[in-house]
Amino acid sequence: MDEGSSDFTADVYWLAVPAVARHFTRGATRGHREDSWVNDCVLRHLAGRTPMDRILSIGCGAGELERHLALMSAFRECDAWDLSPGAIDTARRLAREAGSSGIHYEVRDANAAEIAEATYDSVWFNSSLHHVEALEEICEAVARSLKPGGWLILNEYVGPSVFDLPERQKQAIRAAFDLIPMRLRRRRAPDGSLKTADAPAIPNPREVAAVDPSEAVRSADILKIVAHYFEIVELNPAGGTILQFLLHNIAGNFRPEDPASMKVLDLLIGFESALIEAGDLASDFAVVVARRRDQPAPPLPWKRRR
């Protein structure tokens, strides 16, 4: 959503470490690829169905996803919305520079948007659905907006809402952090000096809500609600339960030219996978490939939040 800001640079952002990104993608694609989950969706799930006539990307940010899809000739026309005018400006400029055609950017709030019915072959969310509070409404609208058999594809944080982590997860993150050798815990402080972190950056839910009230607002409900309105074709857990928080601020210390750091990183990745596989932790990130149901979804078995 705000890829432009300093939160996502290689020094601090977990997925900016190539080895972590490869691991993430292996999970997100069921081990089919290491390069990109988008490639996997297009080449495996949508094989033979591209170019799609019309697709929609909701919460597109600076438009990385659409440019990627355009490069793969995955669509003829693509609508892409975001509520930030700045992001849309950037997206338009980058699309022009890349020579991608057929993308129609628009400043629009998906929370309130009325989406045209039976219009799209696929609808995409790339790290945006976890900012939406009215999940039931948007899922209903998206299901209606898809052509019969149309696809919903999302790459999302689906872990604890507002990052209110359970005790066991916090314990595992702290323990994993203690395993990291001191020299790999350096981080750059806001004033530019190097500090050694003595504890992992576990977020405080109150602060999260204060900084961005939409951040992970109902992320823990996403899978349940999507499964209600759509037929899940594949749900690929991509991890992140430990690594997202563990590597925050210190990601830049793990570099291929420092083999010992790669060994430690490999271990940390191994820990997360083993604990998720052993059922001790859940996966906080997932790529979901789903399709529109033939019949309209039955009434919700739970109460709507609002």
Partner: protein
Amino acid sequence: MKDSDAPTSPQTSTQETGEYWSKKLQGSAFTPECCWRAVPEVDRRRIFRETGGSPYSHWAEYCVREHLAGRVPVERMLSLGCGTGRLERILARLGAFRQCDAWDVAAGAIEAARDLAHEEGFAHIHYSVKDVTTEDMPADRYDAVWFENALHHIEPLEEVCAKVARTLKPDGYLFLNEYIGPNRFAFPPRQRELVRAAFALIPARFRRHRESGTILTSASLPTPAEVEADDPTESIRSSDIPDVVASRFDVVAFHKSGGSLLQFLLNGIAGNFRDDDPESMLVIDMLLRLEDELLEIGELHSDFAVIVARPRQPVGRPVEARTVPSWRPQPSELTRIEDAGAALSISLEDELAQKRAALAEASRYARNLETELDRHRTHQNELERYARNLEAELDHHRTHQGDQARYVRGLEGKLAGQHGPDTGHGPDPDPGELLERIRSLGTELEGLRPRVHAVIVHHRGEALLDACLGRLLASRDIRLQVVIVANDCREPLPPSAQASAGASAEVTAEPPVYVVSSALSLGFSAANNLGVDWARRELGEPDCWLFLNNDAGVEPDTLSRLAGALAENPGVGIAGPLLRIWGAEDHLNSLGLNVTLSGEAWDEGIGQAIADYAPLPPQREVLAVTGSAMLVRSKVLSEIGGWNDLYGYYMEDIDLCLQARARGWTVLLVPSAVADHAISATSDQITDFKVLLSWRNQLVLVLRHWPLGTLLRAAPHLIGAQLFVFWKRLRIKCYADARLQARAWGGALRLFPRALGQRLRGGGNHAWTRELRPAGSVPAIRLPVIAPGRRPWETSAPERSQP
């Protein structure tokens, strides 16, 4: 920190130590439940490190084979702090010596060691209660001296090492396997932090203490005071061992065997990690990797080591020179020689470490290259597929564009014709031609859809077949032709089949329905094969075959979804739908078949409410799917050569799936494809004949398919259970059932030669045996009650179908 075979050696308070260990041996300090090395995977990795990565099963075997190669049996060995004598017995089994002396201060231990050696008939091991710190050792007496977890209990290390060096022959060896970590386990703060962190990463259920049953919240690291109070000799100068040994011996090999994390990490919880619990193995594997990697990057130091050393040889002199009494090195020369020796051993060690690192690097590099190559191959395949798709798409567009242009021209022409003759447009298009073109386009589209031939074996139940056909004929997006095999059918066929039940087949509907009759009553397999052979001859080869029971109904898109799954996954040979219970459609009939080691089979999820079973997996590889409704890739059926008529009824569907799997195909359950099966309609009538066949075919299936190893594994349970049930039936005087059971055995025995012949011809992929469930794991099954009137045929006529 020791083996269950805890040895010791004395220092100042040797008396106490001796008593302590004599007692401790009877206690539980080193029970398998609590001791870290009792975890088999940990022990395997420790041995791997102790032997420097060589393939030996014990460090002593490594020492004998690698360092005493060509010399065994040697004349005489000495084992110090031998405890209950496990090491000497291992050496004796290896034939390593002619005579062996073994000492310990604990009289209790020596007594036990004597008994154990006597039991194995080892009269050439001589045990004595002796204190290594006070006892004299004759010079030049031994070919090898051994310490196993004993030297770290000794305080006067220098004196003992000097004595050992003297008592060794000049070409003799010192072998030791010892704790060399911090004295009294006074671990540095970073190591303590690492142990605590690693402990916190262990999932709670593996942190349950084996004796108290409570979940431990932190690893139990003892304080030095506690260690001293417990055993005053415990690791009294352990950290000095490497230096003291190196100062008096030439170190030939130094294998760091780790233990720096795991020794205390698994205290009391080791029993939770078992080979048969895969999740615990994931965790232990992670912990072992952690220790290895932290050792490798220097974040931890090895707390245990195997050291192989030789008495220091004078530089530049042959070994015999040592025995010449006139030669004595001057003190300054001695220092020089010692320095040179130490420098040499350090540089050799460095070189070795470098070589090892280079080797590890090279093998990692090779592995990376392989992965890379694999990725490229996959990627290339994908690109090729992608390019092919694009081409097809382009072609399609070209055609489409041409058609559109022609159509527009035609319309314009028509319009012009209506407006009068004075237009400059082309001639009037022929509406007939236009219609013809649209029709041909339709045919072309139709040609792209998968061809499915459905085979339905029918014996009786007119209304039943009518309901089944009615749903089948509504199938969408496939090219369907239906072949009904009227198997000894003596009643009229339903109007939806509307065929004469004569020998010849004829087209009666759209999609076409054909009827093939057999006046003879055939088994299920033979009847299916009759339909398949006829269809192949008269209708040609389809893309896939659908086998459907006459009491099963499909949804309009079931077949296209199943065919789609086969088309998308080229490795899948057979696909089955999610089977619900007809009349109680909120309940499952089958999500694939489970088979146990002893050949019992049941449907996954049978009788359970679908809502309770959720979430349903998107696509699920299964061992087999039921023959009530299955789609078989045409190539697979040809490869197998049709249904196996060994069985008559029951189990032939599992046979078909296993034959496909033996040829490397997989079987897929596609929950988005849904069908209904009238399960209780067929199970109401239980006849002796059916019982006999199902009992017999369980045995036939096992004899036909189980690979020899699996068969041997299954045999005890299978035979035991059969005999037990037989005996029980006789006990309760249920003679009819006992007779049936005996007949089932006889029947299976008669079919055995044919099954054996098929085994020899079948495929060799036995990966499926891993999916067999444990014997006797069939769950209790409860079927829902079907409300009257829920099934179309039961309202009119209460007919029953053949199984």
